[in-house]
């Protein structure tokens, strides 16, 4: 299978600190890659470099073989790369439905067709289906800010999927979500993955969640890749155990 995302010798320094240190990896089509590592190991910085929120000091990022290093996040998103954030990022004063329409509207037409076209940008039905898929139908008209934390996490994920992305990067989707909601979220992510053959990269601390969801796991420590492999092997890897417990 071909690589959807290639990260080659990527480095990011902040002053004297090297947050991401010469990291290389591929993400193959249709897989769910987990990235784990202790706090401060550079996971989120890596995401931000891949997604254009930060410009890396060295190295290259390629999406479908095309170099995207330094591309603006909005252009990258329109190429089919989507993300969720570690902290909640919904639009609290828009309705749930409008949050989803917004997440898809920039992917079609031009600035002027969006101005003169339909108010829902022709996405009303797709938004309703996405709401249904994430079982938020009863909340469709509510302001997103009025939802519970777990519900907002679901909406956040739904927004990332709205434009039918090829590649989705999820930054701690399970963070702060209760167990019931967590099972629901995992099940929805798996359902979306198998229905659309989407490719995921997931940063996560919650090991059970990673083990159940991911097909391959990459371990970061102090900005470097220290291990890579199937979830069950990673769990027994002495280097990984050392990185997590040795400090």
């Amino acid at each position: 299978m071909s690589a959807v995302l290639e990260v080659v010798n990527l480095s990011k320094r902040f002053g004297g600190i090297t947050a991401v240190d010469d990291v290389s990896f591929d993400v193959r089509e249709g897989e769910i890659l987990g990235i784990i590592g202790p706090n401060g190991s550079g996971k989120s910085t890596l995401f931000n470099c891949v997604l254009g929120q930060l410009t890396p000091n060295d190295g290259e990022v390629r999406v479908d073989g095309k170099a995207t290093t330094g591309m603006r996040p909005c252009d990258l998103n329109r190429l089919g790369v989507s993300r969720t954030f570690q902290l909640l990022q919904v639009f609290p004063q828009l309705s749930v439905r409008d949050n989803l329409i917004l997440a898809g509207q920039e992917h079609q037409g031009t600035m002027s067709s969006r101005l003169f076209g339909r108010a829902d940008a022709g996405l009303g039905e797709a938004a309703d289906q996405m709401i249904e898929f994430f079982r938020l139908s009863h909340l469709s008209g509510e302001q997103a800010g009025a939802l519970s934390y777990g519900q907002q996490k679901l909406l956040d994920a739904a927004m990332a999927f709205m434009a039918g992305p090829r590649l989705v990067l999820l930054d701690e989707p399970a963070g702060g979500v209760n167990l019931t909601m967590l099972g629901h979220l995992r099940e929805r992510l798996q359902a979306y993955h198998s229905e659309r053959q989407a490719t995921f990269v997931v940063i996560e601390h919650q090991m059970e969640f990673v083990m159940a969801l991911c097909t391959r796991v990459l371990v970061l420590a102090e900005g470097r890749v220290i291990a890579e492999g199937a979830p069950q092997d990673i769990r027994r890897d002495p280097v990984v155990i050392e990185a997590y417990l040795g400090h």
Partner: protein
């Protein structure tokens, strides 16, 4: 409930059409001022209330529009053409003024736009060859449009009110389109908006440009309304006054500027009976109002409706009454 909102708008429109027949010329002048300032406030509400970009430059754009239309008319340009030119010029300048907003936000941006307002005032005052400096320009004529003379106070009011309706409808329509959603996204969470494919840079510049062009069009109506312009009218005071209208009416509510401009135009007149103290009383009333309804008059109305709906859960959502403007809570 939504019907209740429509009924209120229709009733207000009928009132606005009927009222000049019952007012003295000064009263007609006041409501014309209301219509003109509402247009400028709608522009600022778009930039500030919807897109979240703080601007203290709206008064300067009213000035640029007023001077553009006056100088062009003096050069023999027909009014409609000068009117459009004022809007286009302010669109262009507004677009350029938007660039600092791509780098700085909030009170930093307020200072950038404040500096711009001062700059425009200095140009209007010092470039006497063009603007006649502090003497101003008097004797500005009112146009005859398609054979309809707007010379009388009442007919000029109808012209201003007509333009208000047209521009407000266009703004309403834009805010209902995906652009409106994008502007709110810009205000609420630009980082997330960027990651969802929104070209936040272009939308920010657009919010500034469109808001500014509405300021310019208001200026293009202001000049023939007052028939005299001078730089002092467009100094910081006007920008602050327009900001006050947006905040008092309810920033981010479509009808906020209508209400805010009404208060800012009429309240000083009503408290004039206190003679020398009228500005102090006006200031005190504004302070009280902001202390008790920080989200403006319409924000207070929305809360009241929400509270009533909670007691009577069979009613539909309160946001429906306020329509597009209900993006704040």
């Amino acid at each position: 409930m939504k019907r209740l909102g429509s009924v209120a708008v229709v009733a207000a429109a009928i009132f606005a059409v009927a009222i000049p027949f019952f007012l003295k010329p000064y009263g007609v002048y006041l409501i014309s001022t209301w219509a003109v300032l509402t247009i400028a406030a709608i522009g600022l509400n778009l930039t500030l209330g919807y897109a979240g970009q703080v601007s203290l430059a709206q008064g300067a754009f009213v000035g640029i529009g007023a001077y553009t239309v006056t100088l062009l008319m003096q050069a023999g340009c027909p009014y409609p053409l000068a009117f459009v030119a004022a809007g286009l010029l302010c669109f262009g300048i507004g677009w350029i003024l938007g660039y600092p907003a791509l780098r700085v936000q909030h009170h930093y941006l307020a200072f950038v736009t404040l500096a711009f307002t001062t700059l425009v005032f200095l140009v209007l005052r010092n470039e006497e060859w063009l603007t006649h400096g502090t003497y101003g320009i008097s004797g500005i004529g009112r146009p005859t449009l398609l054979g309809w003379s707007t010379v009388s106070a009442r007919s000029f009011y109808f012209f201003c009110f007509g333009m208000l309706c047209v521009l407000a409808a266009a703004t309403w329509w834009m805010l209902r389109s995906p652009w409106g959603r994008a502007f709110v996204a810009l205000r609420e969470n630009p980082l997330r908006a960027l990651s969802l494919g929104l070209d936040t840079q272009r939308y920010t510049l657009m919010a500034f440009a469109i808001g500014s062009s509405l300021g310019g069009l208001a200026g293009a109506l202001y000049a023939p309304l007052v028939q005299f312009i001078e730089p002092g009218s467009f100094a910081l005071g006007l920008s602050f006054n327009l900001l006050l209208m947006v905040i008092v009416g309810g920033s981010g509510y479509f009808f906020g500027p209508f209400v805010g401009a009404l208060i800012a135009v009429l309240l000083p007149e009503w408290v004039r009976i206190t003679e020398g103290y009228y500005l102090m009383v006006y200031a005190a009333l504004i302070m009280l109002m902001m202390a008790f309804c920080p989200y403006g008059v319409l924000g207070m109305v929305e809360r009241a409706i929400k509270a009533a709906t909670r007691r009577n859960p069979s009613s539909p959502a309160p946001a429906a009454v306020l329509g597009v403007e209900g993006t704040r809570s």
